[in-house]
Every structure is written in structure tokens, then in C-alpha cells.
């Protein structure tokens, strides 16, 4: 195993976010492993989505958005002025909760980012499409199948296609934002298998409201509450012996119930 595989490639240091002067994240530290799945869990409003969206600058600095701290990808500060936005989003891929196909065929969808990335060589492009579709389990040798409109796919397959579209750009880290939220259990399991396959080769940061999913899928877990990291550690450790009562209360469903 090379040092690069062992070393976390995405590192968040003392990250704070204020939106319209209200604190959203406060002093968040975390490391996304070079391979494997890191799950971010926490109650609604804990800052999970904001954290995810800062990591590839979907949420950007502005007059009402103040970001402090560092987000380092292989040592590069993603918020430095030298970083081009398109390059950041290529290296830190992001898949959203609802699968939205682009117009065109299945193959067109996967090729979309490659065209933006100016991958002109057809052989190289086809190879990347094939590799991405194989990883998510949608590859077929039947060319006609790949030329079907993406709209024809089931919702689960559409989400897999969205993951393939992101993977085609060979991101260092993949951000997954509640990607199975709108899927049935069978499609959810297919997407989960795909996530584990992806995590064999790159770091995945997964935001989920489904604690059972976080438990069965992730290697490490971060528990956020009120914009702060309350606890993080190996998933088996956190789910069997959480260090803090706050974490245990959340995992046991005792958070936010207005208990006397």
C-alpha cells in the first residue's frame, strides 16, 4: 500500500461557516480517507449539507457567506484564488439526492463531464464511459442499450447513472448527499453496492439520514450537532460503544423529542 493510499487526501481544518451572520459550522476538523466511506450523520439543521456543499464549493464565499478554516485536497487549499472552480468540482465529485438526467442518451450523460473536461480522444472517452458504467453496474456491450434515452431508466438506475457521470471525471473524493433518499429498498441496495465498489479505490464522504445505512456502509462516522463535530471514529466503535451520551441519544432516537 502506497503512502498516498494511506494518507487522507481531503482534510478539513477548523472549518467555520456563517450565513447571514448565523453560525452554521463551528471549527470542524475531519479527514476523508483515501479509500473507504466516511458517513456524516446528525439531526436536521446540524450543518451536514452545508459541510458537504462547502467541500466542492457548491456553497461559496459571498457577502452573506463567511467561510473560515481550510479545505485541503492533496495539500491544495480548495478556497485559494488559484483553484479553478471546474477543476475543484472535477476532483471533488458531488452526487445529489434526486437523480436528474441530462438530455440525451445514457452514454451522453456519462460523456457530458468529459466533453467539458476536453477529453477529445474518442477511444479514451469511450474507455472512461465504459469504466464508469462498469463501476456502477450499468455497463452493457449492447451499443443500442447505451443509446437509449437516459429518461427511460428507473429511478434507481438514474441515480447510478448520476454516480457514473461523476466517476467518469475520476474524482479524488466522491461526495454523496442522501443519494438513496428517493429510492425503494431494492434500488437502495444496488446503489449501496455501487458505493462500496467506488470506495475500494477512492474516498467517499456520504451524508445520510438513514442511520442503518450509515452503519452498514461506512468505515468511519462523524456525528455533527449544531454545526460541531461531537464524535467521530470507526463505525463499529461509534455504533456499539459511542463515547458520548449525546451521540448515544441521537443513535437511539432520543434527540429532538422534547424529552422532559
Amino acid at each position: 500500500m502506497s503512502q498516498r493510499q494511506l494518507t487522507p487526501r481531503l482534510v478539513v481544518r477548523a472549518l467555520s461557516l456563517r450565513v447571514a451572520d448565523a453560525p452554521v459550522l463551528q471549527g470542524v476538523h475531519l479527514e476523508v480517507p483515501a479509500r473507504g466511506v466516511l458517513a456524516v450523520i446528525g439531526p436536521a439543521g446540524s450543518g451536514k449539507t452545508a459541510l458537504l456543499r462547502l467541500l466542492n464549493r457548491t456553497l461559496a464565499r459571498g457577502p452573506t457567506v463567511q467561510v473560515e478554516g481550510q479545505i485541503l485536497l492533496d495539500g491544495d487549499d480548495l478556497y485559494s484564488e488559484r483553484q479553478r472552480l471546474r477543476r475543484v468540482r472535477q476532483r471533488v465529485g458531488h452526487v445529489f439526492p434526486d437523480p436528474v438526467p441530462f438530455p440525451g442518451t445514457i452514454a451522453d450523460n456519462v460523456a457530458y463531464g468529459l466533453a467539458l473536461d476536453r477529453v477529445a480522444d474518442r477511444t479514451q472517452r469511450d474507455l472512461k464511459i465504459e469504466r464508469a458504467l462498469k463501476t456502477v453496474g450499468l455497463w452493457t456491450r449492447d451499443r443500442a442499450e447505451l443509446m437509449r434515452p437516459a429518461d427511460d431508466l428507473s429511478r434507481g438506475d438514474l441515480q447510478l447513472l448520476c454516480i457514473a457521470r461523476t466517476l467518469a471525471l475520476d474524482p479524488v473524493v466522491l461526495l454523496l448527499e442522501n443519494v438513496t433518499r428517493s429510492l425503494d429498498p431494492v434500488a437502495t441496495r444496488r446503489v449501496e453496492r455501487c458505493i462500496r465498489a467506488v470506495a475500494e479505490h477512492r474516498g467517499v464522504l456520504m451524508l445520510t439520514h438513514d442511520l442503518a445505512q450509515a452503519a452498514r456502509l461506512s468505515d468511519e462516522v462523524v456525528y455533527l450537532e449544531d454545526g460541531r463535530v461531537i464524535e467521530q471514529g470507526a463505525t463499529a466503535q461509534v455504533f456499539t460503544h459511542p463515547r458520548l451520551q449525546q451521540t448515544e441519544d441521537f443513535l437511539a432516537g432520543r434527540t429532538g423529542e422534547g424529552l422532559a
Binding site: A212, A236, T240
Partner: protein, 222 residues
């Protein structure tokens, strides 16, 4: 028979549990065989090995407990899989106690072997054979998901009960005839009691085999 899930991590977790429990079954069987050999063949070296193996059994119990907790917390198994995980935990508890009892038998051997005096008789040897055969039967039945093992183990337990009673009568006669050998006679009684308790754990394990495979809870059903 449980069907495999497409979730590779889940299957790996269950395979790991099965592997550890398989090791514990083999270890329990071997510990009892060696402990009995240490008594019947007056082989103190084999007795000491049993005591060393007890630490391995304890470590397996701790490891299986840890894995069971992780599987329940991380994968939330249901139905057949849930029974499979729960019975693994219960079976490990019985196996750990069998390990302790094998240790008790080995200590009897270590106590008796260096000295001359009353030796285990044919009834004790027969008792030992019933229990070791029951252990082998149980291990094979567990691996084959063979629910008929319960009937055979219960028959063996009944024979162990009869033999234990015979052994008790013999010990009482020995006590009257050889009062100077009281220490050895009590040690032999301890050996018979340990074997009878192992037979009870075998029945528990066989009942767990049925529960795991068919979902029928046959505890306390006799």
C-alpha cells in the same frame, strides 16, 4: 440453510463469525478429549495443554461477542440471519463453559496422575466416550444444519445420566471400602459431574441448532 446476501461486507462479517464459532467447536471437542486422556492415560502434559487452551477459548468468546455486537449494530439482521447471529452468541456461551469444564477435568488428571491409588473405572471411561462422541456429533450437526442432532444428543445425555448415577453408586461403595482414598474418590466424582454438565451444554447447543435452522424454540421442552 441461510441464503447469502449480495452485501459483501455483511457476508464477510457473518463468515468471520462462522469461522470463529467453528474454531470454538473444534477447540471444545479437543479440550474435552485431551482432558479425558490426561485422566485416563495419566498424561499430565496433555492436562496442562488443556489449561492453556482455556485461555484461547476465553479469547474466542470475547472476540465472538465483539463481532456479534458489531453485526447487530451495523447490519441489523432479520429472520434467519438474526437467529443465526443470536444462536452463535448463545452457542459460544455453552462452548466457553465446556472449556471451563474440560479445565476442571484436566485439573482432576493433574491431581490424580502423579499418585497411586484408585483409578477411573470402566463406567467413567464409558461416560467420557459418550460425551466425546456427543461433542463430535454436535459439531458435525451444527455445520450441516442437521436438526436431527438434537434427538441423538438427547439420547446421549440420557445415557450420560444413567452412567453418572452408576458412577455415583460406585463412588459411594468406594468411600466405604477405601476411606483412605477419599481424596481420589471425590476427584473422580468431580470428573463424573463435569461430564454430566458437558452433556447438558451439548443439549443446549443441539437445541440452538434447531432454533437456528427451523426457528423452533425447544428449550425446556422435555
Amino acid at each position: 440453510m441461510r441464503l447469502r446476501s449480495p452485501d459483501a461486507r455483511y457476508e464477510a462479517a457473518l463468515d468471520g463469525l462462522a469461522d470463529q464459532l467453528g474454531q470454538a467447536l473444534v477447540l471444545a471437542e479437543s479440550m474435552v478429549q485431551e482432558a479425558l486422556a490426561s485422566v485416563f492415560e495419566r498424561d499430565t502434559e496433555r492436562g496442562r495443554r488443556v489449561l492453556d487452551d482455556d485461555a484461547r477459548m476465553d479469547a474466542l468468546e470475547v472476540e465472538i461477542d465483539r463481532r456479534v455486537l458489531a453485526v447487530l449494530a451495523l447490519h441489523r439482521p432479520v429472520a434467519t440471519d438474526l437467529r443465526w447471529v443470536v444462536t452463535t452468541s448463545r452457542a459460544m456461551t455453552d462452548l466457553e463453559r465446556i472449556g471451563d469444564l474440560a479445565g476442571a477435568i484436566a485439573r482432576v488428571g493433574l491431581e490424580l496422575s502423579p499418585h497411586v491409588g484408585l483409578q477411573p473405572d470402566g463406567v467413567m471411561r464409558e461416560l467420557g466416550q459418550e460425551v466425546t462422541e456427543g461433542l463430535t456429533e454436535l459439531r458435525e450437526g451444527w455445520h450441516r444444519d442437521d436438526v436431527t442432532v438434537l434427538g441423538r444428543v438427547r439420547e446421549a445425555k440420557d445415557r450420560v445420566g444413567e452412567l453418572t448415577e452408576q458412577a455415583r453408586s460406585s463412588r459411594l461403595r468406594d468411600l466405604a471400602a477405601y476411606p483412605d482414598q477419599a481424596h481420589r474418590i471425590l476427584a473422580l466424582a468431580e470428573l463424573a459431574a463435569a461430564l454430566a454438565r458437558i452433556a447438558e451444554h451439548l443439549e443446549n447447543l443441539a437445541e440452538q441448532t434447531v432454533y437456528r435452522v427451523e426457528g423452533r424454540d425447544l428449550r425446556h421442552s422435555r
